[in-house]
Amino acid sequence: MILAGCDGDRTWRLQDYVARGGYSALKKILAEKTPQDAIIAELKTSVLRGRGGAGFPTGLKWSFMPRAFPGDKYLACNSDEGEPGTFKDRDILRYNPHSVIEGMIIAAYAMGAARGYNYIHGEIFEVYSRFEEALAEARAAGLLGQNILGSGFSFELFAHHGYGAYICGEETALLESIEGKKGQPRFKPPFPASYGLYGKPTTINNTETFASVPFIMNMGGEAFLNLGKPNNGGMKLFSISGHVNRPGNYEIPLGTPFSELLEMAGGMRGGRKLKAVIPGGSSSPVVPGNIMMDCTMDYDSISKAGSMLGSGAVIVMDETTCMVKALERLSYFYFEESCGQCTPCREGTGWLYRVVHRIENGLGRADDLELLNSVTTNIMGRTICALGDAASMPVQSFIKHFGAEFEYHIENKKCLVPPEVQYAGSQIYVSPSC
């Protein structure tokens, strides 16, 4: 859908997008003066759920905007994709930026917003530059700015780049960042729909969510829903990384079996055995391989397996993986990226990293697993944003499913997986003393 037909190097151009049927949904809405309510109702029928990770129904979110509010209203696109494992928005912006622009214009029309920003992850600066070019094309074609296509509707859209802060993917941190401040999340409520950018009503959606909108408007909400399964409408991009032969993005209907997705990604690298999968970005709980093989890729099935579909970032690990080392890398990430605002997260993520690090380095103590669990329960639910929970869930799930490996590390001061085996799998060199 979003990435269909996007395998050339010019597919991001306006002309190519129009040739693929682009901007037809917007043109129809503007020509027919489709009521705002009808657009939101169509989205609700589609059961499009937020593609950034939370899976919140998009139609419902749009209906929260106070359309009758007379002042400024804003729209923001969250392209600050920095959750380990997630790399789908980069490809959408690289190969089909106009689908995001069209989706945002339709959203602005439906919610009465006059101005929008696309917040793009700092590390993909080349993509930011390309998006700016796509915006210039849209402006030149009269698709953005005053009186769009003579309809009387006006909307301005700009690109804003991050510069290296994972936390800005949290929507209120993203707003703070657009305001030119440190990206520290805000207390909620008030929610952005009443108090958002510059204190005005604001709706924030993920890149893939916006990009799906033109397709839903064209095919109808019912048809989109039927592409997936009930309560899990449509197609979804899955980013597969780790121990597979062909890592990359795969756009498939929600409800597709995991085993088929794995097959599409070329199967396990070196034909090795699947050990574990992180199914929805680094924050989602890890799932043992045998359980994962029985799952389908949709919100409900992954939730039943004790994890989350999240952003659709699937990190695949084979039998050569040391789970302690894997967790150590994730815990370092959250320690590094905690914004420092809430004490349980600022201090707790440091504790998590240091304890996992000492277990990995043969200095683990007998009660360390208990300590780790206690730190996570003292972080979870006690912070302004979800980063604290995101740091805790991997720790809890790794210990729950692979506790024996952690205990082996603590008792024997070395890894259950021999260093040369780890090296064969990931080219990670680990000294024999671990």
């Binding site: 997630t86 790399f87 992850h121 510069y163 030119g180 890592p247 894997a326 060199y429």
Partner: protein
């Protein structure tokens, strides 16, 4: 303190935001200033703050919060290698070790000739392309085998 070209670029960024929200352009303005000067000394951050009519401390807070701003001098080329889990599973740690060995420096160090600085990066949002590294913040290099790293370092050495 900044060239006319940089100031014009900053003005274009300011125009993206409502007239009373100049501070919104601070992230772009600091990026533009860093590209011209190589890093962000305090005086430069202050200059950017004055240009945007915001308190210098607020600009400094931004510069110190986001990790792609350099508050200390770096080499002519800054190389940032991602070693997060998805990259690590596909040779990211190995790529970082190889760059260290080739340059004879560790993370957060600069070669004695001032040409290269090496940094360890967190997720760049390109895990499918692992090993991934960034050159001077803005150029992403994908699938970095040892041969490609050799070639990249040789090319950068000439610049």
């Amino acid at each position: 303190m900044l060239s006319q070209e940089s100031l014009q670029q900053i003005d274009r960024e300011i125009a993206k935001y409502p007239p009373d929200q100049k501070q919104s352009a601070v992230m772009a303005a600091l990026r533009i200033a860093q590209v011209e000067k190589g890093w962000l000394p305090k005086e430069l951050i202050e200059f950017v703050a004055r240009y945007l009519e915001m308190p210098p401390i607020a600009a400094y807070e931004v510069a110190s919060f986001y990790n792609m701003y350099d508050l200390e001098p770096v080499g002519r080329h800054k190389i940032t290698v991602c070693t997060n889990l998805p990259c690590a599973l596909s040779g990211g740690v190995h790529a970082a070790e190889y760059v260290k060995q080739k340059l004879g420096i560790d993370f957060n160090e600069t070669t004695p000739d001032g040409k290269f600085t090496l940094k360890e990066g967190e997720c760049m949002g390109a895990c499918g392309d692992a090993p991934v590294l960034l050159v001077n913040n803005h150029q992403m290099c994908s699938w970095m085998t040892t041969e490609k790293i050799d070639q990249m370092l040789a090319d950068l050495d000439k610049k």
